[in-house]
Amino acid sequence: MARVEQKRLGMMGDEAVAYAIKQVEPDVVAAYPITPQTIIVERFSDYVADGEVRTEFVAVESEHSALSACVGAAAAGARAFTATASQGLALMWEILYIASSMRLPIVMAIVNRALSAPINIHCDHSDAMGARDSGWIQLFCENCQEAYDTVIQAWRIAEHPDVQLPVMVCLDGFVVSHTLEDIEVLPDEAVKEFVGERKLVRVVGHAGDAFYRLDPTGKEPLSMGTFAMYDLYFEYKRQQEEAMRAALRVIEEVGHEYSRLTGRYYGLIDRYRLEDAEVAIVGLGSSMGTAKEAVDGLREEGIKAGVLRIRSFRPFPMDAIRGALKDVRAVAVMDRAMSFGGPAGPLMMDMAAAFYGLEEGPVMVNYIYGLGGRDISTDDFKAVVRDVLKAAEEGVKGVPVRFVGVRG
């Protein structure tokens, strides 16, 4: 695949998502408005109203129905997209598990926002973390460009025959969704060619082989969303895990193919100045851009720091993380969500598991930051790096959890 000529457009993250979806032109978009996701559905409604897409836009009466309609549409064999945030994702929770277990390759943009109470419209990752175990692939984006690119890639990952799982494309509320950025966009035809048509998998149904869909001709009937007891349920769950393992490979393959087209590569993780790093910041989303800026500053002071941004949170790329941090002695694990009463933040728990049982591993300290949109600055990240270096000097016991930028 040869590099294509791209166009530079100024867009906010939400607009970039809507633009990518216009280019993909899925069959069905079912969505309900919620701040800070609204611009996605508003822009997409404009595309529908102007006849730029043939997509059926279903303006449902709740997020629960948005995802339910996507399940119906994807089961019918269509491409289905939705977008939400925060309370909306929480309302969808029941159907998240159904979509993934029914192996429906839906794509959903999550504009990360804090959960009530108190009601708050700004960024943290509590919403996505609540969906962590729902069987969806979760890709976290750093900026508008990546949000655009990831929404295009998501279909290829979701619909890969070895995967067949829904994908969440996570972008930080306001910081990405409402921030104007110059981004490179592909021509429509290049996007269409890259995503292709959805290829349905063949399955064995009760009336013989069938495409995995609700056959509109009735000739290949399937029963979808059936009832399974202890004799069969567990196998469904085991297969979902196999699909997640396969996704680790597919995310990278799709990333490489996309980079040949665009010159931009995204895989499971994003390494920044890690080659000779002694200390690393590990985290998700837009604040890793700030962390990179902080690392540049620290390097000028002679501190060999780097950033490991985890793009694929589910599946969690254990091997890639271990490899990237093998020569790093101190790691600051940044969590923009909490697991109340748990041992640490959700990312830290996975990081601890990634190094569990190994003879050597970095000293890790967990930092909870940025809840409800609280800002984090380069100075904050510099302080975090100094703190974790000190912890590495002094040694730590267990899983230390510290808070950044909060009173009390």
Partner: protein, 322 residues
């Protein structure tokens, strides 16, 4: 394919449910599903809400459905069907399929009156071309006979028991079909498995209109209503003959609701003496046994009769027959 009009026609149509549906003996739900699928005119996709019919028809590794079928969750059958319909519509626009299949929802009272009410209302408002069939067994039977918005007044359920003080459910049944009709959708009707021709004709009309149609079917439940399984059709018949569950259909013309009574209900409207007292309907069901034993609670039975009469009068007025 034209709609079957005689019993012979109905019998000659293939069953679109396999034998061996694991519903209880005498179950109204599987019978209603079978009758609904006799009215088909072209390929159909069935969407089920969680409930008796869904569970009993899809226990892996078996299925009862000869037609493409999907179950998503309890409260979202209408939303799921909206997505299915939108998907085929998009495929039609792209020339990927030649014909829209019919889309039929089969949901119980819990999935319609209560937890699924929002998604139903949304789908009706948006105007998706689908037929929503409510099989109303008047309680959460699948979970063990708990009261729903469809449970009638003074009926015993496990969450509205007949106690020393409270005598079953205190509240009246929600007028779900009229609520659906007030969405100004092209076709709403009520039907009973005791009147199979009428039911099938209404299914067919519901499929033929362009836009949403809602069919409310009374669904006797031997387990939950406490009667002998051999009496299911008789119970349904008495529901109609007492006007406890009148059968009618409704469309909108020039901004007006045009409601017509059908079958036995029309006859009763014309010959009021044919209307049976509700007591005969109550007396054969164990869920109302506390109204008769140990002593007859006349005032409560009178209240039920008053409810029935008021609803009947309202329908007669709306049908222009009062």
């Amino acid at each position: 394919m034209s709609a079957p009009t005689t019993l012979r026609d109905i019998a000659s149509r293939p069953d679109m449910l396999y034998q061996g549906v694991r519903t209880c003996s005498g179950c109204g739900a599987s019978l209603i599903a079978k009758l609904v699928l006799k009215a088909l005119r072209k390929p159909v996709v069935v969407v089920s809400a969680t409930g008796c019919l869904e569970v009993a028809s899809s226990i892996l590794p078996y299925t009862s459905w000869k037609v493409p079928w999907i179950h998503n969750a309890f409260e979202n059958a209408a939303a799921t069907a909206s997505g299915v319909e939108a998907a085929y519509r998009a495929m039609m626009k792209k020339g990927l399929i030649k014909e829209m299949p019919d889309i039929v929802v089969l949901a119980g009272d819990g999935g319609t009156y209560d937890i699924g009410f929002q998604s139903l209302s949304g789908a009706l408002e948006r105007g998706h071309d689908l037929l929503y069939v409510l099989y109303d067994n008047e309680a959460y039977m699948n979970t063990g006979i708990q009261r729903s918005g469809g449970t009638p007044r003074y009926a015993w359920t496990t969450t509205s028991p007949a106690g020393e003080v409270l005598k079953g459910k205190l509240e009246a049944k929600k007028p779900i079909a009229l609520i659906a009709a007030e969405h100004r959708v092209p076709y709403v009707a009520t039907a009973s498995p005791s009147e199979p021709h009428d039911l099938i004709k209404k299914v067919r009309k519901g499929l033929e209109v362009d836009g949403p149609a809602f069919l409310h079917v009374i669904c006797p439940c031997p387990r939950g209503w406490r009667f002998d399984p051999s009496l299911s059709i008789e119970v349904a018949r008495l529901a109609v003959r007492t006007c406890f569950f009148p059968v009618w259909e409704c469309r909108w013309e020039d901004g007006d609701m045009v409601l017509e009574l059908t079958g036995p209900s029309r006859l009763i409207a014309e010959v009021p003496e044919l209307k049976l007292p509700v007591e005969v309907y109550l007396a054969i069901q164990g869920r109302f046994a506390h109204l008769f034993k140990p002593k007859k609670l006349e005032s409560l039975i009178r209240q039920i009769q008053a409810d029935v009469d008021a609803n009947w009068k309202l329908l007669l007025r709306r049908a222009g027959m009062a």
